[in-house]
């Protein structure tokens, strides 16, 4: 980073941990032989018209309403959305973790194999071996009564045929890989003896135990301090480089996605509404919802006591599907046709997809409205 702040950081004298190779994130789709990625062609994960519904007391909840995307080997993708957007449900679907009360339609192909409809045994094989997940709260992911090392070896031995001492060694290797200080000692400790950042490292180690080709991080750093967040995200990206793992980050934090992801997908009300490479997304936002998200985030560059431009209203409840574009009731640029037909997600520009009848141009934002505080 440049500017006066950057100079002060340099004067601070700390050397950021050097990544394995100089990392530039532009134009790397399908290339980068040095990073150990397979050439493009066979997508690692191919989601096609995924729909998920739940029965609940209030009716049928349409959590995901037809999303399609692909993840290439070694790619870093972010799925951004607020509560109720369907991002977490999509992630669980990719893992095969949805409960039996969920009705899943559509297709999820991992290296060509269909995941939807697989039996439990096959799914168990799939989880951990092919795909692993890092959850938000490390306290919930780790067994408080088991030593952390044992939890790693447990994961190892479930999927790989290793003897106990071999598994132990591999576990220590993994702890080293996730930059855990004093790994041999930490192996024998319990979760409550570790800090939040260290616990999350253990969770990552467990996730990587069998070197899955895809790692899903569901708000993995949300519960961590900002300094730890930086450490963990750097770690994840470095591991990606080393192991060639693809990473899907689920988050509500656009800034985080911008910093760490190559491609970003924005979800609203169960659909993908915009998808682009990180640079393109922020350089030329098209979907008014994405722009609203960007505008509403406090930024350090802004002056204090400025009112943030924000739209009112709330996302629709997922039981009654509104006609047309789900965002139309709140959209400052909405027109008549927006409530009549759902705009399809299309690649309007190379590498930049959006689902909007009246996308934003590159000029000034639309009419925001007077009441910036929103009404209940």
């Amino acid at each position: 980073m440049g500017g006066p702040l950057g100079q002060r950081v340099r004067r601070l004298g700390a050397t950021p941990p050097a990544p394995a190779a100089a990392v530039t994130r532009e134009g790397e789709v399908g290339g980068g032989a040095a990073s150990g990625r397979q050439p493009a062609g066979v997508p690692l994960l191919e989601v096609s018209d995924l729909r998920v519904r739940f029965r609940s007391r209030g009716g049928v909840v349409h959590a995901v309403q037809g999303i399609s995307f692909t993840v290439e080997p070694g790619q870093t993708v972010a799925i951004i959305g607020e509560s109720g957007s369907g991002k977490t449900v999509s992630a669980y679907a990719m893992m095969g973790l949805l409960p039996r009360t969920a009705q899943v339609a559509g297709s999820i192909r991992f290296k060509g194999t269909q995941i939807v409809g697989l039996g439990e045994r096959a799914l168990q094989e799939h989880r951990g071996r092919n795909v692993a997940m890092v959850f938000q709260n490390p306290e919930r992911s780790l067994n408080p009564t088991m030593k952390v090392g044992s939890q790693i070896t447990e994961a190892i031995r479930r999927h790989l045929q290793l003897s106990r001492p071999q598994a132990h060694e591999r576990a220590i290797e993994l702890l080293r890989l996730v930059r855990m200080p004093a790994p041999e000692q930490r192996f024998h400790e319990y979760a409550h003896q570790l800090s939040g950042g260290m616990r999350q490292r253990v969770v990552i180690a467990i996730a990587l135990a069998c070197e899955p080709a895809l790692l899903i991080a569901d708000e993995a750093t949300t519960a961590l301090d900002v300094t730890t967040q930086g450490q963990i995200m750097d770690l994840l990206l470095d591991l990606q480089q080393q192991l060639g793992t693809a990473l899907v980050m689920i988050s509500h934090d656009l800034a985080l996605a911008a910093t760490y992801a190559e491609e970003i997908m924005v979800m609203y009300a169960g659909r993908i509404v915009e998808r682009a490479l990180a640079g393109d997304l922020f350089g030329s936002v098209r979907m008014p919802y994405t722009r609203a998200l960007l505008d509403a985030v406090p930024r350090v560059e802004l002056e204090p006591h400025v009112l943030l431009p924000v739209i009112g209203g709330r996302p629709p409840d997922m039981v009654t599907i509104p006609p047309g574009c789900a965002f139309a009731p709140r959209c400052p640029d909405a027109q008549h046709d927006c409530v009549q037909a759902i705009p399809p997600l299309q690649e309007h520009e190379p590498g930049h997809w959006w689902a909007c009848w009246h996308p934003c141009g590159k000029e000034a934002p639309g009419d925001i409205g007077d009441d910036l505080t929103g009404r209940g």
Binding site: L12, V226, A292, L293
Partner: protein, 363 residues
């Protein structure tokens, strides 16, 4: 506020406050040498270690200004807020609010003194009684202070709910669980404002809300601030957020104040290494030239609050630490712009030279 006869001690405190209010007006809140401790119990109830969550913190808050308090886990910022409102009261130190020291006040005087200080908590669903209706929740402080007739109270509740963006006719009879997170937090804000306080302590008021709702509520807080002339003590971990709302910012680490000063100064010319590290860790939504920003500049783990490092508490993770840092705890000293104070032996200024070899971080 009702006038009361002041004791000699209180008169002294008030006079001291008047003396110190040199820069731009009287201090609404004057916190001095605040210490808060928790005794940890071992199994069986035996006395374990003592956790000093807040260690000798002093600062001022002037009328009409917003002081942002920033810190990470273990910084003690939430404990600081609770100590200021005396719930529980601090072990040592003084909290002088509108000229009265709240520490040690008898209950009746405390109730009167605290009327102008209210608090908004992080999670609205635990800060609102789930069995009560919205109107009743907002009305409760008025009843407790016996203000107004029933009719007048209802009027005030209605108008206040309206002001925070909640339709009283529709939502007045609802219970908190029937509201969304943003709506519930508005109700909590309304309740905090119904007594028309001078100071509102906000402990992470928007952290549990979605991005768009968060912006709405922040705008609401700003609007109310302007209309009602409120002062805020705003606690958050999100640096960008704190900058958005504050006039001055204080940075805490492991129970101590590292740096405090006017907001623009802190963000443009931070001097404490911890502040710099925090600012450097912020991921930015507009990445410069596609390079990975927000890389971690800070290493190591947070030391145990039970047994903090000697001298400067940040030294185990600070790249500029020297021997002096282990021997001597740095005092908060003015440096740079007016009102900018730093507690560091080797702060980062324009004049400081290139990186020195960091001393081994032993403890």
């Amino acid at each position: 506020m009702t006038s009361e006869t002041t004791s000699p001690a209180e008169a002294d405190a008030a006079a001291a406050v008047k003396r110190e209010g040199e820069v731009g007006g009287d201090a609404l809140l004057d916190v001095r040498n605040l210490v808060q401790e928790f005794v940890l119990r071992d199994y069986g109830g035996a006395r374990g270690g003592v956790l000093q969550a807040v260690s000798d913190v002093s600062f001022e808050l002037r009328a009409g200004e917003t002081l942002g308090i920033v810190g990470e886990t273990g910084s003690g910022k939430s404990t600081l807020a609770r100590s200021i409102i005396q719930s529980p009261p601090p072990k040592q130190g003084a909290v002088i609010f509108q000229g009265k020291n709240l520490v040690g006040l008898p209950r009746r005087a405390m109730k009167l003194a605290r009327r102008n200080m209210q608090m908004v908590f992080q999670d609205p669903f635990t800060s609102l009684d789930p069995k009560w209706t919205v109107s009743r929740i907002v009305e409760e402080p008025l009843i407790a202070y016996r203000l107004g007739s029933r009719h007048e109270r209802r009027e005030q509740v209605s108008s206040l709910l309206d002001r925070v963006g909640i339709d009283p006719a529709r939502y007045g009879v609802r219970h908190p669980r029937e509201l969304s997170g943003g709506q519930a937090q508005r109700v909590a804000i309304a309740r905090a404002l119904v007594l028309e306080p001078k100071l509102v302590l906000c402990d992470e008021p928007v952290s549990s809300l979605d991005v768009l709702v968060q912006a709405q509520v922040l705008n609401l807080l700003e609007k109310l601030r302007r209309e009602m002339g409120l002062s805020y003590l705003f606690i958050a971990h999100d640096l960008a957020l704190v900058k958005q709302v504050s006039d001055r910012v204080a940075v805490m680490y492991l129970g101590k104040l590292c740096e405090i000063g006017p907001v623009r100064d802190i963000y443009r010319r931070p001097m404490h290494p911890y502040t710099l590290a925090l600012l450097a860790s912020i991921p930015s939504p507009v990445p410069a030239s596609g390079k990975r920003g927000g890389t971690s500049v800070i290493s190591g783990e947070l030391p145990s609050p039970l047994d903090p490092p000697s001298g400067c508490r940040f030294r185990t993770r600070c790249p500029r630490a020297q021997e002096r840092c282990a021997a001597e705890a740095p005092e908060l000293r003015p440096l740079g712009a007016d009102g900018h104070l730093v507690a560091c032996h080797f702060p980062v200024t324009e004049a400081s030279g290139p990186r020195r070899e960091p001393a081994a971080a032993t403890h």
